[in-house]
């Protein structure tokens, strides 16, 4: 990372909060529309797929298909909310609106900015995931008290996808590349991670890939909890999510430093 790497790392434990608050203020101005956007997609899945396929499939692993799907959608909505925020809104603030440029005139470092943006993306993921969770619980697809356990996992999921997307945003020359990421990485991940159908339906080779995907770890933590089952391998899944937060974070800082401070 070169001689001056410490200048790019976060400058303090909480200096990123200023960046988060900036984004929160901007969000407050458009909150209703933004919330609707976060909710519409997973709702269409739950009600559309849930009622349509639910009739054909009956039960999946002892629960109704709708309950199975809803739990998957909590994790998936966290993934998409966080990813879209980062690859579109954050990318625009980094490149088109020069928002980051103004931030870099101050006592913030690149690391503070990236951390603030990631925390913000995770916040949006938490809002989206929690909203779906509330709907799911209201429809009695899940237990209310499971939400308390699920919320931190949603936040971690948001952070992991913000971190990964930050690497993509750091590398992408234009919006076209971000669309590639969305359709070639995020959509396949949705299919392979067991959000809409159980992973054991996949051919064994693909199942092995599934174990590497962050969304799969998130679903393995969220679904059993929401359905009131015990959660196996908690530390493994949490560890995997944390790895997906920490490693891309440092990679993205190195890449962004090269991109922005040439």
């Amino acid at each position: 990372m070169g001689r001056f790497s410490t200048e790019a790392l976060p400058s303090g434990l909480l200096n990123w909060v200023a960046v988060w608050r900036r984004n929160f203020l901007a969000w407050k101005k458009v909150a209703p529309a933004s919330l609707l956007g976060n909710l519409a997609d997973p709702m269409i899945y739950i009600f559309g797929l849930g009622s349509g396929l639910g009739v054909m499939l009956g039960n999946v692993g002892g629960v109704s298909y709708s309950a199975f799907l809803a739990a998957g959608m909590v994790a998936t909505s966290a993934m998409t909310a966080s990813t879209f925020e980062t690859i579109y809104a954050t990318f625009a603030r980094m490149r088109d609106h020069r928002t980051w440029e103004a931030m870099l005139y101050t006592k913030l470092t690149l690391g503070d900015i990236v951390l603030g943006e990631m925390a913000w993306a995770a916040t949006k993921a938490s809002i989206a995931g929690t909203a779906i969770g509330i709907v799911t619980a209201t429809l009695a697809y899940s237990e209310w008290d499971s939400l308390i356990y699920v919320l931190p996992v949603i936040a971690l999921t948001g952070l992991a996808f913000a971190s990964l997307s930050m690497v993509v945003a750091a590398l992408a020359p234009s919006y076209d590349y971000l669309v590639f990421y969305q359709s070639l990485v995020i959509t396949p991940m949705l299919v392979l991670s067991g959000s809409v159908f159980p992973v054991d339906q996949l051919p064994p080779m693909l199942q092995r890939i599934t174990h590497l995907l962050p969304l799969a770890h998130s679903i393995d933590l969220i679904r059993p909890a929401m359905l009131g089952h015990p959660v196996p391998d908690i530390t493994l899944h949490l560890g995997a999510l944390c790895l997906y937060i920490v490693l891309p974070f440092f990679v993205s800082i190195a890449l962004l430093r090269r991109r922005l401070t040439q």
Binding site: F4, E7, A102
Partner: protein
């Protein structure tokens, strides 16, 4: 933090409305004005900026070439150069946003980029292109930016009225930035740069793209900052701006310094006599006739520049050519640039 603002408010406006001629703002006058100021709280280094043999190479292209200069605390130092001269690159290096390929930079006594974050705590920046938050109001822009310096909401809110007054935007406090005029946006950017009460201001073409009244407003604001004892690094490609504002300047071309000094002495040393601009003839033909009577001749496109102390004699000679238009004027930085580079600085 708010003290300087208060001082500014209490002091009667010392700036006359005529700020057009460079001589109206000569250095002795500045010294009188700043003489009664108490020193800035932590203005320890006498050199606000020090560059030593700084080079910047982008993909084998040398954009800044072994450049050295120093900016003293309290002065307005100009970087004057045409498009692509390297002005913005230099400002980015001063902020630690670009790492020089070679050379040493110190800003406010701190090595940059090594301690750039610490240095930036004492710097205010106006960049060449607006980077305000368009969807926020004027007030929100100041609030959000202050937080980037880890200032508390209360402390920033206390400061906002004086910043609005400085920017002459009191009536626009709750207007969205996207609804402001270009001049207002630049004044807001300047006010925003003061939120951390910086000792040093780095201003990259702060008046480019503004109409004359808006430019004058910015200049007047900058003067009030100099009176408060701030140091200013100003980049511009406009000769009149450089001549009017800067105590000293450095003329850049292609990343290299081609002249350095106070504007008036540069003009005196390098040109040293008035100019007659001649339009509407064949410059080569005319130059043959007048050459014996002038100190120097420069030709730029269709315009002939005659540098001469005996203008009457030259005018008499020029009468031999019917239909010429003549403009006699004192020499300025434009002539310096033309002399040193053989071309005019395009606007």
């Amino acid at each position: 933090m708010g003290e300087n603002m208060e001082r500014e408010k209490l002091r009667p406006k010392t700036i006359s409305t005529d700020r057009n001629s460079a001589s109206a703002r000569s250095n002795p006058e500045r010294e009188i004005k700043t003489g009664h100021l108490e020193p800035e709280p932590n203005s320890a280094p006498t050199m606000a900026i020090d560059l030593q043999a700084v080079t910047m190479i982008y993909r084998e292209k040398t954009v800044v070439d072994s450049l050295s200069f120093g900016v003293k605390a309290g002065e307005c130092f100009g970087l004057l150069g045409p498009n692509g001269a390297g002005k913005s690159t230099i400002t980015r290096m001063l902020l630690g946003m670009a790492t020089p390929s070679a050379g040493k930079i110190s800003v406010l006594g701190l090595p940059v980029p090594g301690k750039a974050r610490l240095a930036r705590a004492g710097i205010g920046v106006v960049s060449q292109f607006d980077n305000l938050d368009m969807e926020f109001t004027v007030r929100e822009n100041l609030l959000v930016f202050g937080r980037y310096f880890q200032m508390s909401t209360g402390a920033i809110e206390e400061l906002i009225p004086s910043l609005l007054e400085f920017a002459q935007l009191e009536a626009k406090a709750d207007v969205r930035v996207s609804d402001l005029s270009g001049g207002m946006k630049r004044r807001l950017t300047l006010a925003r740069a003061l939120v951390n009460d910086p000792q040093l201001l780095i201003l990259d073409e702060p008046t480019t793209g503004l109409d004359p009244p808006a430019r004058h407003q910015i200049w007047e604001r900058l003067r009030s900052l100099l009176i408060r004892g701030k140091t200013i690094l100003l980049t511009t490609h406009m000769m009149d701006e450089a001549e009017r504002m800067c105590d000293r300047l450095c003329v850049l071309e292609g990343g290299r310094m081609i002249a350095e000094g106070p504007p008036l002495s540069l003009i005196k040393d390098i040109i040293g006599c008035p100019v007659i601009e001649v339009y509407g003839g064949n410059p080569d033909e005319i130059s043959l006739i007048v050459r014996p009577h002038v100190e120097r001749i420069e030709i730029s496109g269709e315009t002939l520049f005659c540098y001469t102390v005996n203008s009457d004699q030259v005018r008499a000679k020029l009468r031999e050519f019917p239909g010429l238009r003549l403009l006699e004027r004192p020499a300025n930085l434009e002539d310096v640039f033309l002399r040193l580079t053989g071309r005019e600085m395009e606007k």
